[in-house]
């Protein structure tokens, strides 16, 4: 049904966050999940097949239009504002949390060998990580995990989209880039 596809397209366009099938279903009330998924798949193919400025991607459990990476230079210029970059420390801390979650601050500090308080705070402020709860240990330390925003930032459908550490290691016969 072409009409459904047009409506789904307009919802994708109007939503400021990735939109889930369930959300589309609740907005449209009547439609079944299968028809919605078909409309999404058909849209994704359409945007994929032609030479377009943006495409439909499945991210953080939902669907979202995003500009093509090939256009990044132009859009950066359009936006002018430089997005806040993650420091290497923040990125490493984030990587540990992503892979080892649920994880304690002490685990992070053991692995990185340095205090992580400041970095944790930055990541919390940027909503890339969150407190999942507390561990039943003396002091009841906070358990950290990644957020939806983390998935959105790194274009991940879900956490299983991350390569396994083993895969990374196999690839990595070369050294990781140096600090500079």
């Amino acid at each position: 049904m072409d009409n459904l596809k047009a409506i789904v397209e307009s919802l994708l366009f109007a939503s400021d966050t990735p939109i889930t099938i369930d959300k589309i279903k609740s907005v449209l009330e009547a439609s079944d999940r299968k028809a919605i998924r078909e409309a999404l798949t058909s849209l994704a193919e359409e945007y994929e097949s032609s030479n377009r400025g943006f495409f439909l991607t499945e991210v953080a459990g939902g669907f979202q239009f995003r500009t093509r990476p090939e256009c990044r230079e132009w859009i950066r210029r359009l936006k002018e504002t430089r997005p806040a970059r993650l420091s290497r420390a923040a990125l490493e801390t984030l990587a540990i949390i992503a892979y080892k979650q649920p994880v304690l601050r002490s685990d992070l500090e053991y692995l990185r060998g340095v205090d992580c308080g400041g970095t944790l705070r930055t990541l919390l402020e940027r909503k890339l990580i969150r407190a999942l709860g507390r561990k039943n240990l003396p002091g009841r330390p906070i358990i950290y995990g990644t957020t939806k925003q983390f998935l959105e930032l790194f274009d991940l459908k879900d956490l299983t989209g991350l390569p396994t550490l083993q895969d990374l290691k196999d690839l990595g016969e070369t050294w990781p880039n140096d600090s500079s």
Binding site: R88, L91, E92, A95, D155, K169
Partner: protein, 242 residues
């Protein structure tokens, strides 16, 4: 600026400071092109110390974790020098450093992999303006904020700054567990209208949980959020939503 100074160890460029001891170790292992599983500990330990000396000479405080690592390296070095005891099954002393180093490397790869992805607002962009929708005025006033846990804590923090912090001294994890348990008991009572005393303890096995539940019930009784009744014949204590 990038020139090697007289007293500077050959491997460091001026202005190159390391994030932590692991970071420095990775750098040394890499610069010397040695196998991470067969680290020439004496060489690495020496260069590590040279680096610390160099940092000190710049009048920069060496963070405690660097010193801990220095001690670890020295310890491993001395154990390597000891003649092997009868039990030659003894683990290679270097494992103490190789294991965490290998793990650290792994996470560096992971961090790099994240960086290589199509990052939002860097490689790919989404629509952000809300004004592209036809006939749909954005009525929402701008003083509304989208809320998350962080905003909640910060709002609370603002209040604490205004009021005396002493007012909030009781915010220990234990107190919060009691608050949480009160909330859970309230959920049960709102659902069922009442619950037996027994019921509220059943699913919670640990001693700490039992104490927390008991304190929660006391607190609720004190605040008259619940009524507690005992059946005359059976002796069963029942708690009602107040």
């Amino acid at each position: 600026m990038e020139q090697t100074q007289d007293q500077t160890p050959y491997f460091v460029k001026l202005g190159e400071l390391f994030d932590g001891p692991m970071d420095l170790l990775v750098h040394l292992v890499k610069k010397n092109e040695v196998d991470i599983h067969d680290i020439p500990i004496a060489l690495i330990a020496q260069q590590y110390m040279e680096y610390l000396e160099w940092v000190k000479s710049l009048n920069i405080d060496v963070a405690g974790e660097f010193l801990v690592m220095a001690a670890t390296l020295a310890h491993i070095k001395s154990r390597m020098l000891l003649p092997t005891q009868e039990e030659d099954e003894d683990e290679d002393p270097r494992m103490e450093i190789i294991r965490p180093l290998a793990e650290y490397l792994q996470l560096k790869y992971a961090a790099e992999d994240l960086m290589s992805r199509n990052r939002l607002d860097w490689d790919v962009f989404v629509r952000t303006g809300f004004d592209g929708t036809e006939a749909l005025p954005e009525k929402e006033s701008s003083d509304l904020v989208q809320v998350g846990l962080f905003e909640l804590i910060e709002a609370f923090q603002e209040i604490v700054k205004r009021v005396s912090p002493k007012y909030f001294l009781d915010l220990t994890p234990d107190v919060i567990s009691v608050k949480s348990r009160i909330s859970q008991i309230k959920d049960i009572l709102e659902d069922q209208g009442s619950a037996t005393f027994q019921e509220l303890f059943e699913t919670h096995a640990t001693r700490g949980d039992i104490i927390v539940t008991f304190l929660a019930i006391l607190e609720m009784a004190k605040g008259q959020m619940i009524r507690i009744m005992q059946h005359v014949k059976s002796g069963i204590i029942r708690i009602f939503n107040g």
